[in-house]
Every structure is written in structure tokens, then in C-alpha cells.
């Protein structure tokens, strides 16, 4: 593996999970979830707490992290999003409401960090979670495990959406909420489940991201533009596009910084955030609807033509 690749893959899987969770929520509830930032931070914080209080590797705590994220999603849905969806609120209002929720979560995570410091003498304001990782084939194990988890979750979600009855109902609601409601699907439950899944995904994404970058209580707040960039790059209308976009944003950042700092000079490090943003801007200028809007079928001729008939 090239030197940038291990960290890049870990970081990219974190971004893919969070971008995927943003996309999932957007296609079901029209909500741009700012709260992904603090949900991701909570994911990291819980993994860190588990590792430093009870030992073990961070992976052991991922199920717990998923459940905690789902709970945060549930609170957001029943406390906030449900009422606004019933009121048929505008997209901007939905977005702002999650921003308010995010600020509340951010303050609680900061208080929790203080609590950890004062009670357990832990210092969660500068954490290298990768110190608790183990080695696999001469690399950090996270570089193999986390992409597998990200892709595994995507596959599980794919199977859930295409093979199970509820998943098909969910897709029907995404396609046409009114018609789905008329045929007896309860949209309320669909929205609730998508908040649960997306909350869990973003929490795991945060824990994954903290394996590559320094974990702080404002980690999510600092990386939220890139999570959104991943979701937008993917086109916001396709779950697979969102996850692919997240992977691409993460990998471009690490690869770009590595090669550019070798070619131009190490000063490029300071502008690392610009590299994925340029990628996003270029993609949006060429394809205003993101990766999912690229006419893949046209590009690859009849490779996909059989599938296109299904739509």
C-alpha cells in the first residue's frame, strides 16, 4: 500500500458512512441533517470512552455506537422532524431545525468531555484512537476492517431495500410518498426507520473517522463540510452515489495531499480541504446532479441497458 492509502481508506470509509447517512435521510425525509456532525462526534466519543474505560479495540464498541446513534436519530425524529414533516415545512426549515439539534448535541458532548476529564481523568480533547488499533499484514487493521464495514453496511442496506417487504415499502415511499400512503404504507414508520439507520451510520462513521484524524469534541463540526461534499458529489438522490461520493472525497484528499506535497511542496498541507472541494465544484459544474446524474448507461453503451428497462 502507498503510504497515504491506509489513512486515506480509513478516513474515506468514515466519510462514506456519514455521506451515505446524509443521503439516506435526504431521499426519505427531504431533511439535510446537520446533526450528522455531532452524531459522528458522539460515535467517536463513545468508542473512546469504551476503549479507555474497559479496554479492547474500538471495533468491539461499534454495535454500541450504532445503537447510540440510532437513539439520537429517534430523539431527533420524534422530538423535531416528525412535527415539521407533518406541517410540510420547507427544506430550509428542516435543515435549520437539525442545526439547532446539532448545537444542543455539541454542547452535551462538550459537557460529557468535561465530565470524563473531571471524573475519570481522561483527556478526550486530543485523541488518537488509532493507538488502540492492532496490526494486520503490516498495516493498521482499520485500513481493512473499516472499508469492509462501510461496504458491508451498504450491501446490507441494499439487501434490506430490495429483498425485504419493509425495504420495498421504503423505496416506494421514497419514489412517491402520496401513492405509497394510498396503498397502505405508513410513511411515519418509514421516516422513523430511516432516522434510526442514518443515525447509526453516522455514529459509526464518526468512530471510523477518528481512527484516521485527531478526535476532538468539535471533530464533526470541522468535517461536516466534507461529509456534505461527499453527499452532494454523489448527487443526493442515490444512496450508492452518496457512499461512493464520500469514498471519493476522502481518498482524493489524502492522495492529493500526498502527491501534491511531493510535487509542489509541503505548504499544500494547509490547504488540504481545498482539494476535495475543487473535485466537488468541478463535478457539479460538469454534472449538476452529481455522480448519480452522470449518464453511466450512455457512457458504457449497452453494458447497463438491460437494467435500464427496469426503471
Amino acid at each position: 500500500m502507498a503510504p497515504w492509502m491506509a489513512s486515506g481508506l480509513i478516513y474515506a470509509s468514515g466519510l462514506a458512512l456519514t455521506a451515505g447517512s446524509i443521503t439516506l435521510l435526504y431521499i426519505t425525509t427531504r431533511t439535510f441533517n446537520f446533526a450528522v456532525a455531532s452524531m459522528a462526534t458522539w460515535g467517536f466519543m463513545l468508542a473512546y470512552t469504551g476503549v479507555s474505560l474497559y479496554g479492547g479495540t474500538p471495533y468491539v464498541y461499534l454495535p454500541l455506537v450504532f445503537i447510540a446513534g440510532s437513539l439520537l436519530g429517534l430523539i431527533a425524529y420524534y422530538g423535531l422532524n416528525r412535527h415539521l414533516l407533518r406541517r410540510n415545512a420547507a427544506e430550509i426549515t428542516l435543515m435549520m431545525s437539525t442545526l439547532g439539534y446539532d448545537l444542543i448535541l455539541l454542547s452535551i458532548v462538550q459537557m460529557f468531555a468535561d465530565y470524563l476529564t473531571l471524573t475519570y481523568k481522561l483527556y478526550p480533547r486530543r485523541v488518537m484512537l488509532s493507538a488502540h488499533d492492532f496490526q494486520l499484514f503490516g498495516e493498521r487493521a482499520a485500513a481493512f476492517i473499516l472499508p469492509v464495514i462501510a461496504i458491508g453496511l451498504l450491501v446490507a442496506l441494499h439487501i434490506f431495500l430490495t429483498k425485504t417487504k419493509f425495504g420495498i415499502a421504503m423505496r416506494a415511499t421514497i419514489e412517491n410518498p402520496v401513492l405509497a400512503g394510498a396503498s397502505g404504507i405508513n410513511p411515519d414508520r418509514v421516516y422513523m426507520i430511516s432516522w434510526v439507520i442514518s443515525g447509526g451510520m453516522s455514529a459509526i462513521g464518526g468512530a471510523a473517522m477518528a481512527m484516521a484524524i485527531t478526535g476532538t469534541p468539535v471533530m464533526g463540526m470541522n468535517t461536516i463540510p466534507l461529509m456534505f461534499a461527499g453527499a452532494i458529489l454523489g448527487g443526493l438522490h442515490s444512496l450508492y452515489g452518496g457512499i461512493l461520493g464520500g469514498f471519493m472525497i476522502g481518498l482524493t484528499e489524502y492522495a492529493g495531499v500526498f502527491y501534491l506535497s511531493r510535487e509542489i511542496g509541503p505548504w499544500i498541507q494547509g490547504y488540504r480541504m481545498g482539494i476535495p472541494l475543487i473535485l466537488m465544484a468541478a463535478t457539479l459544474l460538469l454534472f449538476p446532479r452529481g455522480l448519480a446524474g452522470i449518464p453511466w448507461a450512455k457512457l458504457f453503451g449497452n453494458l447497463f441497458s438491460r437494467k435500464r428497462g427496469d426503471n
Binding site: E91, I92, S97, I108, F228, A231, Y271
Partner: protein, 395 residues
């Protein structure tokens, strides 16, 4: 016809009961500070109010009146701050013959050059006023330029895409300022010449009064602008883009103008902030403070209502300051369970946004439905039309 008559009868009162109650609450809260012996805090409140009123009013022009989801407010604010931090001081350094190139942004030189400039500015009131105006002008020009740049993709992209792209680029601007040493010193803050030095010991009070004055001037300007035909164009585009363009409006042009004016005003806010604090450090311009808080102020006050925005900023700034000042007295019980009440202001801001959206979705002072013209003028215009009709028989 009945709709016209209805709006005619409801001539807008300048200040209604709602506004009076809000003003009373604000005065009560302010007097609370006076009675608890913290008069000086009021100056800090007025300072923060002035800066954020300017920024939030500009946000309201773009979001409330034009309907652009401006999640990158911090970009324009940063541009103004950098412009004021980098250029007028350099010009002064050039005039008095000090190094003004990359050395100016080097803390070692900067801490020596700026006091010299300050002495020069303090020697003559006209120098000070001229420098302040120069700063405002620089900020506005650069802000307008960045607003124009932002408006280019703003025309191509749709709502959510645009808001998120603006958010991302606002963050990127901060990192550019943080890393590009030769502009404003990068990670080491540099000083900015101080046009208020001439007031000596009363410097901070004088500065606060000037800032307050500028905020009020900008409020009056925006109030007039949004009531002008241009303001009605903005509202029309916000409410229905298709019908606006069908009525012959150039949507792209109007939107661009709104973004340019809004960004110029926000940049002036950023520039004034830098002048008041006397130093600039790029890392201080976080999206939390300069994008999300103005959004909270605007939502509390009422989207699309300039007076409401002023009220929203004032109320929240007072509440925030109260928490900052009294948190260790009022929330001492939290310390006992091992939690620092330092973060309560974030909780407050988040809770305000959530509660406002859930319970007062139109804000404290909602936007009023106003007739285009005052009642008498409408009558006059109608009478004139009637006259024209009768005097010009249809051939």
C-alpha cells in the same frame, strides 16, 4: 378589488404592540445588568449587537428577502476582515515609509509598525475618520467582489446544493487565511491600525458608539432598500421565481445584485469587528459564530423582517451574555456533578433554534404584508387612471 381594499385599510403601523413588548423586555433585561452592578457589560452587549446586527441584516437581505440559503455568511465576513487586516494598514505603512510587503504580516515587524501608524492616526481627527472610511470602503469593495464570485455558481445550483457549497467554501476561506502567512499573518494574529486611538481612555466606548451608529445607518438603508421597487423584486423572486421571470424580471441579475449588496454589508461587519478588536487571527472566524449564530438571530427575530432581526439579535445577545456572566453563579450545581457550565451558551442557541421552529415559525416580529404604496397614493393613482380612461375615449 376587495383584496386591495383590505390591504389599504391595514396601513402598517410603525411600531405595534408586539414590538413594544419586546422593547420592554429588552430594556428590563438591560436594567438587570445595571442593578446587579455590571454597567460595563452593557457596552460589550452593544458592541456585539452592532456587529451581529450588521451581519444578520445582510443575511436577512439574502435569505429573508431573496430566498438564497446563505450558509456561507462567514465567507463574506472573513473577506471583509482580511481586507481590512491586510490592505489599509499596508497603505499607511507605505505612506510613512515602513516595510509594507510580506514583512507587514510578520508579527515581529507588525508589532513595531502598527504603533507608529497609530500615533500618526491619533495626531489628527481627520486622519482617523479617513482611515475608518478607507477600511469600510475596502471591506465593502472586497465583499462585493466575493459576493459576485459566489453569485456565479449560485445561478446554476439549486437550493440545497447551493447552501452546502457555500458552507464548504466558507470553511475553506478560513483555512486559506490561517495558512497564507503573507496576507494577515496566518496562525499568529497581527495588529490592525486603530482609528479610535484618538479618543484615548474612552476608546472602547467611542468605538462602540460609532459601531452602533453604523449599524443603525445600515438598518435604515436596508429598510429603505427592501421597501423600494428593488426590494419588491426580491420578494417576488423569493415567492415565485417562475412568475417573477414571466413578469419580465431578470432573475439572475436581481439575485446577483442582492448577493453583492449583502456580501458587501457583511464584509463591512467583519471589517468593523477587526477594527474594534485591533487584531486579526484567521482561526477566530468560525462558521459557528459567523454563520450559524446569525441564522439563529434571524430565525428568532423573524425571517424577512428587518426590525425583527434587530430585536432577535438584541435578545439573544443579552441572553448569551447573561449566561456567560452568570453561569458560575446560577449553574453551580452542575460543577458539583463534574460538568462545566461553559457550554450552556451552545445549548441556549440550539434550543432557541429548535423552539422557534417548533412554536413560533415566523419569528417574534413576523414579516408584515404591506401595501405597495401608502393609501393616499394608491387612491391618487387610481383616480388618475380613471381620469385617463375617461379623457381618452377608445377609438
Amino acid at each position: 378589488m376587495s383584496a386591495v381594499a383590505k390591504t389599504e385599510r391595514k396601513a402598517p403601523r410603525l411600531i405595534g404592540i408586539r414590538e413594544l413588548v419586546l422593547l420592554a423586555i429588552i430594556i428590563a433585561l438591560l436594567s438587570f445588568f445595571i442593578f446587579s452592578g455590571r454597567e460595563k457589560t452593557i457596552w460589550a452587549i452593544v458592541f456585539e449587537f452592532s456587529i451581529f446586527a450588521i451581519i444578520t441584516l445582510s443575511l436577512n437581505l439574502e435569505t429573508g428577502f431573496t430566498g438564497i440559503p446563505q450558509f456561507g455568511r462567514v465567507a463574506a465576513v472573513i473577506t471583509g476582515a482580511f481586507a481590512v487586516g491586510a490592505l489599509p494598514g499596508r497603505l499607511m505603512a507605505y505612506i510613512i515609509g515602513e516595510p509594507w510587503g510580506a514583512e507587514y504580516a510578520n508579527a515581529v515587524f507588525n508589532y513595531r509598525i502598527v504603533p507608529v501608524i497609530n500615533e500618526l492616526l491619533a495626531s489628527n481627527i481627520f486622519y482617523s475618520i479617513g482611515f475608518l472610511l478607507l477600511c469600510l470602503f475596502t471591506a465593502a469593495v472586497f465583499g462585493a467582489a466575493i459576493g459576485w464570485l459566489i453569485s456565479r455558481p449560485a445561478i446554476r445550483l439549486k437550493e440545497a446544493y447551493l447552501g452546502i457549497s457555500l458552507l464548504a467554501f466558507g470553511d475553506f476561506f478560513m483555512w486559506v487565511g490561517h495558512n497564507w502567512n503573507i496576507m494577515v499573518g496566518g496562525s499568529t494574529p497581527i495588529n490592525v491600525p486603530d482609528p479610535f486611538r484618538i479618543f484615548g481612555g474612552d476608546r472602547f466606548m467611542a468605538a462602540v458608539l460609532v459601531l452602533f451608529f453604523i449599524a443603525i445607518v445600515i438598518y435604515i438603508y436596508l429598510e429603505r432598500l427592501t421597501k423600494s421597487p428593488f426590494g419588491r423584486n426580491l420578494k417576488m423572486i423569493r415567492d415565485n421565481e417562475v412568475s417573477a421571470s414571466a413578469a419580465g424580471l431578470d432573475v439572475v441579475k436581481v439575485r446577483t445584485r442582492s448577493l453583492v449588496i449583502g456580501s458587501a454589508i457583511a464584509a463591512m461587519g467583519g471589517g468593523l469587528y477587526v477594527i474594534y478588536t485591533g487584531s486579526i487571527g484567521a482561526i477566530g472566524f468560525q462558521k459557528l459564530t459567523f454563520t450559524f449564530w446569525p441564522w439563529a438571530y434571524m430565525m428568532l427575530g423573524g425571517i424577512g423582517s428587518n426590525f425583527g432581526v434587530l430585536m432577535g439579535v438584541m435578545l439573544l445577545v443579552i441572553l448569551k451574555t447573561m449566561i456567560i456572566v452568570f453561569r458560575y453563579d446560577w449553574f453551580a450545581f452542575m460543577v458539583n456533578v463534574g460538568i462545566d457550565p461553559m457550554w450552556l451558551e451552545f445549548t441556549l442557541m440550539g434550543a432557541v433554534i429548535v423552539l422557534v421552529i417548533l412554536f413560533v415559525p415566523h419569528g417574534l416580529v413576523p414579516e408584515k404584508v404591506e401595501p405597495v404604496l401608502p393609501e393616499e397614493r394608491v387612491k391618487r393613482v387610481l383616480a388618475k387612471r380613471q381620469l385617463e380612461k375617461t379623457s381618452e375615449p377608445v377609438s
